[in-house]
């Protein structure tokens, strides 16, 4: 349902991604594994349209989306959770959720603040708190909840476990599994093999912007440990 082929991207003159090709099938969790600076975040930004690819195609449910604006891609049902969270710190929890809100979507789970507070009980207890006054873990929950308010069919998660306490990481694993149960397709970027193993159905290894291997997580594990 989300297919990427021949993806090339650059920042100015620095060519970062070279002919990347991978896919995430409906209802599964696909993981892009790569070390720091491998190009994982750039890949997700290219899919959501924040970075304009130099070349290549991105298909979402068979439809090419690489030429669309980020807001148009988001309105097709692609949710994006950036690694640096980018919470609106001047806005309260409820207001942050409001920014992400989109009309219900055919074939995608429907989220309301009430349902999200079941998934993230912490957030329910701080609905009027400003984004600036939340801990890193709470912000990470909020950034996912905010994206879910758009009722996406696929969600791009950029290193959601980064910098979180082990307990919270465990919670994140449960959250991703829950999203999968709800029928969401997940494209996850990770460096943390232990975290990836607990959720991945399919894995790709990226190094210096190029694909180094693909398969199940156990199949690519060695390749990843070599890079």
């Amino acid at each position: 349902m989300l297919e990427v082929s021949g993806l090339n991207a650059a920042y100015g003159r620095a060519h970062i991604l070279f002919d990347l090709a991978f896919e995430a099938r409906a209802g599964e969790v696909a993981v892009l594994l790569g070390r720091n600076g491998a190009g994982k975040s750039t890949t997700l930004k290219s899919i959501i349209g924040i970075v304009r690819p130099l070349a290549g195609e991105v298909h979402f449910f068979g439809r090419p989306i690489q030429h669309l604006q980020p807001y148009q891609i988001a309105r097709l049902g692609v949710g994006y959770v950036p690694e640096d969270r980018r919470i609106f710190t001047d806005l309260t929890v409820m207001e942050n959720l409001e920014i992400g809100r989109q009309p219900p979507r055919e074939g995608a789970p429907r989220w309301t603040p009430a349902k999200l507070f079941e998934l993230f009980p912490n957030l329910g207890r701080m609905q009027d708190r400003l984004g600036a006054r939340m801990s890193g873990g709470e912000q990470q929950m909020l950034t996912i909840a905010r994206t879910l308010m758009g009722n996406p069919r696929a969600i791009l998660l950029d290193e959601p476990s980064e910098g979180l306490a082990p307990v919270i990481v465990e919670q994140m694993v449960r959250t991703i599994r829950e999203l999968k149960t709800q029928g969401l397709t997940v494209l996850l970027c990770e460096q943390n093999l232990h975290f990836a193993r607990q959720v991945a159905d399919r894995a790709y290894v990226i190094e210096k912007g190029q694909l180094r291997g693909s398969g199940t997580l156990d199949e690519v594990r060695e390749e990843y440990q070599q890079v």
């Binding site: 920042y11 100015g12 959501i48 349209g49 924040i50 604006q69 980020p70 807001y71 988001a74 309105r75 994006y80 950036p82 980018r86 609106f88 710190t89 001047d90 806005l91 207001e95 942050n96 409001e98 920014i99 992400g100 989109q102 905010r146 994206t147 758009g150």
Partner: protein, 615 residues
């Protein structure tokens, strides 16, 4: 009214002055709030905001006889809002990714176009507005008469503040605006269509400006000067209050308006500007981002680094020398108008090169460089006429007045960067203009000074041409030479990476301040040469459009080239000479040309030309 020390003011007149301040603050707040709102979301400083205010005024005055005052006000504001939406959708939308300088220049081009449109539509005379029916009387406050309409205005500002608060805090639209102000890219990735959000924000900002203008018409006449007056007041308010903060704009509008009111009430209207300065200085020292402002969010990634300025090749130097030599031979062929035109070109080439010195290598985008040009010109005139100094000495010492201006203004300016700097330079230039324009006894006011002629041995066109040629070529060569001195390199290091420059021991602020003063000196020299070539000087010499002329020259020639500003000045002055002889609305033509250039080459005219005619 004579001057009265503060402690001799009666309690009741203190109260009245206080109320006057409150009433003026309302209109000022509307403008500043609109400016802040637009900047918050689009990151564009709308230099044409004062022009929208002016349009609101003229429209309301024009509509009032037909519809009555109370209908004309909202309708004028709505018309301005519609115009704002149109401008955003056709023009600014194309510029959100363009370099900041081009954005500023584009909104500035609008100032020129709107001014000439207003002149064409309503003529050059001031237009008196109607009184507000039902509020044209006065009430007694503490024994003194006070206009009812001013009481209405006092309430109007807080009312609008409340409405804006509701809109921004309690509606989905407002939540989107606040989110986009903080991180518009993320808002887009969450499905927020920025296009129409931006258009609506711009329309609201324009509405506030138009409304601010329309409600002023019972209090003051509509004039063609009001646009730049208002925008520089609004810039001061926004710098003091904090860019992007609506309550900050309110607070600062109150502060500035009260200062003005009390200075006028005490009979010291001339020192209003000085007091405003001091307030701004204190605020900028204590809180660099304004009373309620915060450090601006970084919305752009690290900018594309400028290519290093190459040393001119031997061939280029030979060509430049050849050009200077050819110029020296011109008087042998022609003595008439060509020499006058060439003198102008040389003067403005020096002006453009001095502006380029701080803009290109310094990275300080000054929108008020004409202030130093004008100070040099007035310095020359005043030394000659009031000081009785011989012309030769006047020419030498006049630029020192510009240096003094640059020392004071520069001290503030180097504390800021980007749009803050652009706003402040413009505000300073406007303040300098106001002083020259209003100080009838000393500067001749709006008429300026006449009889500023060179000494007899320089009075022929040919002799003065040679003086100008020698001075300008020498000065330009010196400015260029300094760019390749350690000072020039340090300046560029400070522009490209202030933090790293600091780390290797360069005092970036001091370097920039010095550059400001150095550039001011040569702009002043150009101004002094200009004054003696024309024999007279008027406030136009340092009016804000003159600053924009300089920017256009630099941009035409190429901001990151060495000799570009010279060619830009030559092209500009020649075009101006040709066009202004055949067209009445020269400013609008310049504005239209700038808009055209910016729209067609949003990544910079010169980048395009450089590719096209790669040397």
């Amino acid at each position: 009214m004579g001057s009265v020390p503060f402690f001799f003011m009666s309690a009741s007149s203190i109260l009245i002055q206080f109320l006057n301040g409150l009433a003026s603050a309302s209109s000022l707040f509307l403008v500043a709030a609109g400016l802040s709102l637009i900047f918050g979301v689009t990151r564009i400083i709308n230099f044409a905001h004062g022009s929208l205010f002016m349009l609101g005024m003229y429209l309301a005055v024009a509509l009032a006889p037909m519809l009555g005052f109370w209908w004309s006000v909202p309708l004028a504001a709505l018309a301005v809002a519609a115009f704002g939406a149109l401008v955003e959708a056709t023009l600014l939308r194309r510029l959100y990714a363009a370099p900041e300088l081009l954005q500023l220049l584009a909104t500035f081009a609008l100032v020129l176009v709107i001014k000439d449109f207003t002149l064409w539509a309503w003529g050059p005379e001031d237009l008196l507005g109607p009184r507000a029916p039902g509020m044209d009387g006065a009430v007694r406050i503490a024994g003194l008469r006070y206009p009812e309409y001013d009481l209405f205005l006092i309430g109007f500002g807080p009312l609008v503040l409340g409405a804006l608060w509701f809109l921004l805090r309690r509606t989905r639209w407002g939540t989107l605006v606040r989110a986009a102000t903080q991180d518009r890219e993320m808002a887009g990735a969450l499905g927020v269509n920025q296009r129409w959000l931006f258009t609506s924000v711009f329309a609201l900002g324009a509405l506030l400006a138009g409304l601010g203008g329309a409600v002023q018409i019972p209090r003051e006449p509509a004039t063609l000067f009001i646009d730049l007056q208002i925008i520089s007041d609004a810039f001061v308010v926004v710098v003091v209050g904090g860019l992007g903060s609506i309550p900050g704009a309110f607070l600062a509008a109150l502060l500035i308006a009260e200062i003005k009111s009390f200075c006028i009430g005490l009979g010291y209207s001339k020192i209003t500007l000085v007091v405003e300065f001091i307030v701004m200085a204190v605020v900028l020292i204590v809180r660099p981002w304004g009373l309620l402002g915060r450090m601006p969010a970084q919305t752009r990634g690290p900018g594309a680094l400028e290519l290093p300025l190459a040393l001119p090749s031997r061939n280029a130097l030979v060509a430049l020398g050849g050009t200077a030599l050819a110029l020296a031979l011109v008087p042998l062929l022609s003595a008439g108008y060509t020499l006058v035109l060439l003198t102008d070109i040389l003067v403005f080439a020096l002006f453009a090169v001095s502006l380029h010195f701080i803009m290109g290598p310094g990275g300080l985008h000054s929108f008020g460089h004409a202030a130093y040009f004008g100070l040099g010109a007035y310095g020359a005139g005043l030394l000659l006429l009031k000081g009785g100094v011989p012309m030769e000495l006047a020419l030498v010492f006049a630029p020192l007045l510009a240096v003094l201006g640059a020392l004071v203004f520069g001290w503030f300016c180097v504390r800021l960067s980007g749009v803050y700097l652009a706003m402040l330079t413009l505000a300073f230039a406007q303040i300098t203009w106001s002083v020259m324009f209003q100080w009838d006894a000393f500067t001749g006011g709006s008429n300026g000074l006449i009889g500023i002629w060179p000494s007899s041995w320089l009075s022929s066109k040919t002799a003065y041409y040679y003086l100008t040629l020698a001075t300008c070529v020498g000065a330009i060569a010196l400015l260029w030479r300094v760019l390749y001195s350690p000072f020039g390199y340090a300046l560029r290091a400070g522009r490209d990476s202030p933090l790293r420059a600091d780390a290797i021991g360069i005092d970036v602020r001091a370097q920039q301040w010095a550059a400001f003063v150095f550039a001011g000196l040569f702009a002043g020299l150009a101004g002094a040469l200009f004054a003696f070539s024309k024999g007279s000087i008027s406030p136009e010499a340092l009016a804000v459009p003159r600053s924009v002329d300089g920017l256009v020259m630099v941009l035409l020639g190429g901001i990151q080239t060495l000799t570009g500003p010279v060619w830009g000045a030559a092209l500009f002055i020649w075009l101006q000479d040709v066009v202004s002889r055949s067209v009445d609305y020269w400013r609008a033509v310049i504005g239209a040309v700038v808009l055209f250039l910016v729209l067609v080459f949003p990544q910079g005219v010169t980048g395009f030309l450089r590719e096209r005619f790669a040397r």
